[in-house]
Assembly symmetry: C2
Homo-oligomer: 340 residues x 2
């Protein structure tokens, strides 16, 4: 028997699962999706299949319009079957599917980056194209609480600051990206699929220990869970604290008289107003402005160096950031620009 | 040849090591130790031996008076030799040593806590007694950057919030505790001892995998260091960011009209002033007040629950915290008290 098509026909526990996802988006993220067109990134694995069903059940309540996109990376022998599975699933759920075949090995060789990074980039490029062509508002991905915990551990290892340390955002307006399952444990997704009688495709490519993410998944996260069986819950709480701090830091930014010159893609901030703030706040303002200029990860080492120069009012100082971004300290303003 | 007794007789690299420690205390922590009497916790291991030498070299410059304390836990067969080593070392450096013999196994059985916890408690009790009897100002321990990194990983595992997540403080005025080596990598301490020609006692008791700390030290930290050879540096930076945030959050607390009733050991805060602040700040104020009331670790889960009640102005609400502490929401004030 195929899974039911309406929320009211689900077993109560499965329905509650969906309603919690809706509440997370509406209450925790404060997003009203009414009238939006949502593109679901679908691989056919358990996570994205659960996301697709969940949204399908919520669509009439949330008044959203759904479409899906599937990418065949040309890496796995089962790729054709994965694509066929996605096609049948979308047909059964009555929604359009957009497909792409990518030569990720070729792209990786061309760009000189790793397979994982090349695949991620090509996938997101395709999704952005579909978003634009189909006039959709948001891309939805199935990242869940285990992914979030792995991400936080990776960020700790790589040396992130706060609040980035707590993991990826659930809503990224710059990339039109939404992760509605971010605080849902991975096991709940499989449970949900089993409860509604749905099937999915198993993906073995997530176990290659050549990738840090897989080493964290296989070696570190299980160790942490053994030490603290509530570790995932703790990471969800840490993420919530980080969200509060992120909002709090942003509030201060809006109080400053920040000037943006679109032609030069350049922000300037009055130095006196900056110096009236605490270092803790100044650092977050530098970061927000640099993130807003251009892509390129801002390193805390450089932020701390910049703040030393600001604190000492060393005009003429320049601090470089990845992605061709720089901060220039002048007599009365601090200027952020992207050198292209 | 025994190690030199004066800073100016050290190899330049060893002297620089000491001066960096001095600068950390004076500049980073903003502490002036001039005229203070410092009690060094000495086990005879590499870390505390390095701390003792380092302080001995700095004492004339910093104008501090030094004494040491050693605890024999009665657990290791070599305990007598460790004590003899400490006695000779302190005699050579011309400073008094206070010793205690503790039956930690017996104490652990009596209190029902683990050996590690009972030992830690008994050790600190003895150090506090010596502090009081000898009219000393601060207890100094040899915790270093590897300890800090392990501590941060353990805090992540156990579910700490921010800024506690970044690890133990370098200066804890409530316990008169100072950790001058907190941002110094452990290997630098052994290098320093080797450079000055000093010896130390090896302690094998730090490897028992029954303790989370030792599992983190042996299994997790090496993994993190393999992924990121600069991981220790990253943790020092994270700690600095946390310190800034800690100060920043404290500044807000001082702006509130907080009333303390010593007789009842109770704080009350006007609700309207609290509600004018962002949740991110309110949470830190609750935590600071609860930490100030009595010992007992404040859990973020409870802080978040309390903030929900405050935000909704649910007067009559009570939230319990470990250590007999509680928060009571009244019509116009939030009251924190310790029920003993």
């Amino acid at each position: 028997m195929p899974p039911p098509l309406r929320l009211q026909d689900l077993p109560p526990k499965a329905a509650r699962f969906c309603l919690r996802v809706e509440r997370f988006v509406r209450k925790d993220l404060g997003l009203d999706l009414n009238g939006k067109r949502l593109l679901v990134a679908l691989s056919g694995g358990a996570d994205s299949t659960a996301l697709l069903y969940c949204l399908r059940y919520l669509a009439p309540r949330m008044r959203v319009d759904l479409l899906a996109a599937h990418v065949d990376h040309g890496l796995r022998p089962e790729a054709g079957q994965d694509a066929a599975f996605c096609r049948e699933l979308c047909a059964a759920l009555g929604m359009p599917l957009h497909e792409a075949q990518l030569d990720v090995s070729g792209l990786a060789k061309q760009s000189g980056t790793g397979i994982e990074e090349a695949g991620r980039q090509a996938r997101y490029d395709f999704f952005q194209t579909v978003l634009a062509e189909q006039n959709a508002d948001l891309l939805l991905t199935a990242h869940h609480l285990n992914d979030l915990a792995e991400d936080a551990i990776m960020r700790l290892i790589r040396g992130a600051g706060w609040p980035e340390l707590a993991g990826m955002p659930a809503y990224d307006p710059q990339r039109n990206l939404l992760r509605p399952l971010l605080l849902t444990p991975g096991t709940n997704l499989r449970e949900f699929l089993t409860m509604i009688g749905a099937t999915w495709r198993e993906d073995q490519s997530n176990t290659d220990p050549a990738f840090l993410r897989n080493r964290v998944r296989q070696d570190i996260l299980p160790l942490f869970l053994r030490e603290n069986p509530n570790f995932l819950e703790s990471m969800a709480r840490l993420w919530r604290i980080a969200e509060l701090d992120r909002q709090f830091f942003l509030e201060f930014k809006t109080k400053l008289d920040i000037h943006y010159e679109a032609g030069r893609n350049q922000f300037s901030v009055p130095l006196d107003a900056l110096l009236a703030l605490h270092s803790a706040m100044r650092l977050r303002i530098y970061k927000a402005l640099l993130d807003g200029l251009a892509p390129g990860q801002v390193l805390w080492k450089n932020l701390l160096r910049l703040d030393e120069a600001v604190h000492a009012r060393r005009s003429g100082s320049r601090v470089q950031f990845p992605g061709g971004k720089q901060a220039c300290l002048e007599r009365s303003v601090l200027r952020f620009c992207a050198v292209s």
